[in-house]
């Protein structure tokens, strides 16, 4: 398919661009296969706006006389308005944008066309291999092994080719366990707590069905992670009644009789369309400047967004508490094990593992617990808060995770190597990107699409020193502690950096942030200078003593 076919009017002049808190700008609008480009004609202050078509969530058009207006709502929640003279031009442009922003074929997406202008120092596609992770693990324990049972993705289509499992369980047993778990997602290692050797596993629900089917290998697999005489915890992210109802459809939960060493805790986490609705409501509330206080607060409440945040954080803290405080191993699952399960396991690691709070470690976490673990990014992030499609598979699952990280970051601002901007970057790229990282729904699909060969990885770009410096938290000081966040409603805040980003002037806040960074930088310079002077003085003193002697 040629993109040109979709572009009837590639260019329009005298277009006015309106953005909140900016004066309107007049300029030229161009459409390319992947971008909407607006450039102002003002010579003194030329301005260009490049917008990826895939970032466009929805588009509205209306006319006053022959002046057409297009309102573009983006997946990063920004809203811009373009006034285009000429009804035909406007209609053409609107329909082109509509078509180009809703291409169904992945291979037509921009990452397949993007040619980087930077030198690749490190190929991000091979930066975070599970083999490396396993090597680290082997240095502290030999209870685990790397299994290639899924090397052709036949045992579990949504798992990566290699997984880490207890050493005592062989591939044959894994195949059997896979048949007993929804989607073949047998329990695998998610996190190993070096402090006490406890493990966090994740899987999908067991397929016990109504007649209480059991699988000895499954029991053996998860029991292999227990110390003798100790109990483990199964954290089921569904309420008990939902888990019970799941039996009718062949699903189910671990029954006490068959798993006597495990205690099951149901910690409900909302999913799919409920989350998507919540997201849409929250963004609606944030975008309306005319709300009086009561209306704003009731809209914020009605969105339920912060409730989801609290529930999710609580569940993650619970998992972390089981491991760190109770010294117990934990198995986390919901139904499919691709959404709420991953939220819980990845957040628990943020709390427990200082490594995950570094930039590199956080990238590794996202790769391991989200991309390789088979969170269906392409389905979940197909549309953002302005979509009116009622597809069931869209949900801001990853965004919720990022926001929870942000909430913990707020409470422990010196414990993270990355800053808020890094989290926002991941949010943006999960929804629309020039990089291939978040394309596809799992490793299997990524391999079929040959993404590593045909597209650039986000990590290749982000890990270059000049980019990385933008995402560093100047306040960071590594600490090896477990960080327990407060989940009281009074301690949670709306993530203004995402939800109010385009809705309020932020100049003063940004300047203040800059000043904070300056103070820290200046401190480092001063310290260096003091040290240099001290050394110089010491050398002089030594020299003088030498002369005297």
């Amino acid at each position: 398919m040629e993109f040109a076919e979709l572009i009837k009017t590639p260019r329009a002049d005298n277009v006015a661009l309106h953005r909140p808190f900016h004066a309107a700008v007049e300029g030229t609008l161009c459409l390319t296969g992947h971008h909407l480009i607006f450039s102002s004609r003002r010579r003194d202050n030329a301005e260009e706006l490049w917008l990826l078509h895939s970032n466009i969530d929805s588009i509205d058009k209306r006319f006053v006389g022959s002046l057409g207006t297009i309102v573009i709502k983006c997946k990063d929640l920004r809203i811009i308005q373009l006034d285009i003279p000429g009804m035909e031009e406007c209609l053409n442009i609107a329909s082109s944008i509509e078509a180009l922003s809703t291409l169904d074929s992945v291979t037509l997406m921009y990452p397949f066309f993007y040619r980087p202008m930077f030198e690749v120092l490190e190929d991000g596609w091979s930066s975070f291999l599970l083999e490396q992770e396993f090597e680290l693990l082997s240095s502290v324990t030999n209870e685990w092994r790397l299994s290639c049972v899924n090397k052709d993705f036949s045992v579990c289509p949504s798992y990566p080719a290699v997984v880490i499992v207890p050493k005592s369980v062989d591939d044959e047993a894994l195949r059997k366990v896979a048949l007993f778990r929804h989607g073949g997602r047998f329990p695998v290692l998610s996190y190993y707590h070096r402090k006490n050797g406890m493990a966090m596993l994740r899987s999908s629900q067991p397929l016990t069905g109504t007649n209480g089917r059991r699988c000895k290998e499954d029991e053996k697999l998860i029991n292999a992670t227990l110390r003798s005489g100790r109990r483990g915890f199964v954290i089921d992210t569904r309420p008990l009644n939902v888990a019970q109802q799941a039996r009718a459809k062949g699903g189910g939960f671990e029954q006490e009789v068959h798993y006597p060493q495990w205690r099951r805790i149901h910690k409900y986490i909302e999913r799919f369309n409920i989350l998507q609705e919540s997201f849409i409501k929250l963004v609606e509330a944030c975008n309306d400047q005319s709300h009086n206080m009561d209306r704003w607060l009731s809209k914020l409440e009605a969105s339920n967004w912060l409730t989801h945040i609290k529930e999710l954080l609580t569940a993650a803290c619970l998992a972390a508490q089981c491991i760190d405080r109770e010294g117990a191993s934990v198995l986390v699952h919901g139904s499919e094990g691709t959404d709420s399960t991953l939220q819980v396991t990845s957040l628990a690691q943020i709390i427990l593992d200082p490594r995950c709070r570094t930039i590199r470690g956080f990238q590794a976490l996202v790769v391991r617990e989200w991309l390789q673990a088979g969170h269906p990014f392409q389905q979940r992030c197909a549309q953002s808060a302005y979509s009116n499609s009622k597809q069931k598979w869209e949900a801001p699952v990853f965004l919720l995770f990022l926001e929870c990280v942000w909430q913990i970051h707020r409470q422990f601002p010196c414990s993270f190597e990355f800053n808020e901007q890094f989290l926002i970057l991941l949010f943006e790229h999960a929804y629309a990107s020039q990089f291939g990282t978040f394309l596809g729904n799992n490793e299997n699909e990524r391999a079929k699409l040959k993404l590593p060969q045909k597209t650039m990885s986000l990590w290749s770009w982000v890990n270059r020193p000049e980019e990385l410096s933008r995402f560093q938290n100047p306040l960071y000081e590594a600490n090896s502690l477990v960080i327990w966040p407060s989940v009281a409603p009074q301690s949670l805040q709306l993530w203004e950096g995402v939800f109010l980003r385009w809705n309020r002037p932020s100049k003063f806040l940004e300047e203040a942030e800059e000043e904070r960074i300056n103070i820290i930088k200046y401190n480092k310079e001063l310290q260096a200078k003091v040290n240099a002077l001290r050394q110089q003085l010491a050398e002089m003193e030594a020299g003088e003593e030498g002369q005297e002697n």
Partner: protein
Amino acid sequence: QVEQVKLLDRFSTSNKSLTGTLYLTATHLLFIDSSQRETWILHHHIAAVEKLPLTTSGCPLVIQCKNFRIVHFVVPRERDCHDIYNSLLQLSRTAKYEELYAFSYNPKQNESEQVKGWQLIDLAEEYKRMGVPNAYWQLSDANRDYKICETYPRELYVPRTASKPIIVGSSKFRSKGRFPVLSYYHKNKEAAICRCSQPLSGFSARCLEDEHMLQAISKANPSNRYMYVMDTRPKLNAMANRAAGKGYENEDNYSNIRFQFVGIENIHVMRSSLQKLLEVSGTRGLSVNDFLSGLENSGWLRHVKAVLDAAVFLAKAIAVESASVLVHCSDGWDRTSQVCSLGALLLDSYYRTIKGFMVLIEKDWISFGHKFSDRCCQLDGDPKEISPVFTQFLESVWNLTEQFPQAFEYNEAFLLQIHEHVHSCQFGNFLGNCQKEREELKLKEKTYSLWPFLLAEQKKYQNPLYNPDFSPELTLLEPNTVSFNFKFWRNMYHQFDRSMHPRQSVFSLIMNTSEQNKQLEEDIKELEAKIKQRNGQSDVVLVKEQEPTAHPTPVALKTPPCFQKEQPPLPVNDAVRTIEGSNTADNRYSELVSEFSKAEPAVVSLEYGVARMTC
């Protein structure tokens, strides 16, 4: 003294507690736990004491403080509990001003220091700074002996054309004699903020002198002929007042006025609003939605927004239209003080400095007769007079500091400390309801002023991000008052609930770093001098290190160092603040697993001390 008393964590549902000994002193209640940590509570801070039904572990006693601290003791023996309860009731309810702490508080200052302390804030100086008296405004001696208005200060500024008969006439037409006087003068715009109480207009009464008074005010502004009259009350309330012979200005009777209601609720609404807010925020195991709907139902943020909206309206009238504004409510000492002072704060960057903020409070709140004693319940009195009007003012200022992090010389701790002392009755400034009363109490001889003590420890109150050049002199600060900008002030209402706050504070880290930077600058100077000395005659500077990049000059304070001598800086309150490490990180998710061992998550206390930074 009672031993084996338990202090419960307010928000924990697991019955975790600290055991210790409770002492009652003449001024404080003191609890020392087994690890020798001390909790001091000033009797004057106690708002309510409640004895709960006897439990198996003893008799629970809940103490609510005016600084929003709530402590929950369990006393083993009911008799002891009863005794403590009765003593606290007596001690916290003072009948006479002379029994308040300020009269016994002795910071070991000599007499001249005490006098100098009281002279630190000089309102005559302040009016001079604003540019009055001038061709249009003069000092009036009409109230020199408090004959015209008892609740006003002696020195009042009025338009030159307002003669004494006009003043007297106008004052008779205004509630409590509070006639229109100058509150703030904007010298660039030549426009004034004036304040007064409601007119006694009833349904039709008018007063020529009062009409003249307003005309005099608008004529005193050469740049604009009309003036605004802001009635800060909701229209309905103002209309209801007409039946009692009070009311609001009839636009037909006054020439060139633009009349405007701004709808701030009265003290009773504010009191119950805060009450509701505290009930919600004090709930154990609160859900997000209960919190948000409680926040909404309390109306508190709505009221704060209304106050700030009014201030923005006022400030814009002056800065944009160069119009003078007369502000009043009913008596002109609550909402009027809020709006006038916030308006001035938006207009004049001086009030965003530490000293300037003290001046602002002295002027618009203390001298103009905000009834601190009644509103803060300093003496045992009418509970209907209590209202968090001043707290609301501080909260509005805090909201501004959040929106303009670099515009204020002071930080949140400064606001909180002032709030603390408005209720502590430890210093004389806020005692009584008006200046006349304060003079009768001889506060300047018998008590001390708070301000020099705050200045002496101003390092704690400085905003490290402050940029004195943030806005040029007398340019308007324009806050965004869209609802989502207003947040629950956790550091005020949960100041003492440590588990709710971030465990690492960016603020204190930046504070310490910025403090350390100053020290390092000194060190560098010293080292360079030493090196130079050693180099002797040869003036070669060997250091090749580049100069540190340009950095905003450290905040130079214009305030005179009045009390450089080592003052014990508020020892008692320091103690009150430092105990807050006692709460373990009780984050409530532990309760999900009831059979979890009782071990709480270890306290992850990562607060940056100075020691840590000086490696």
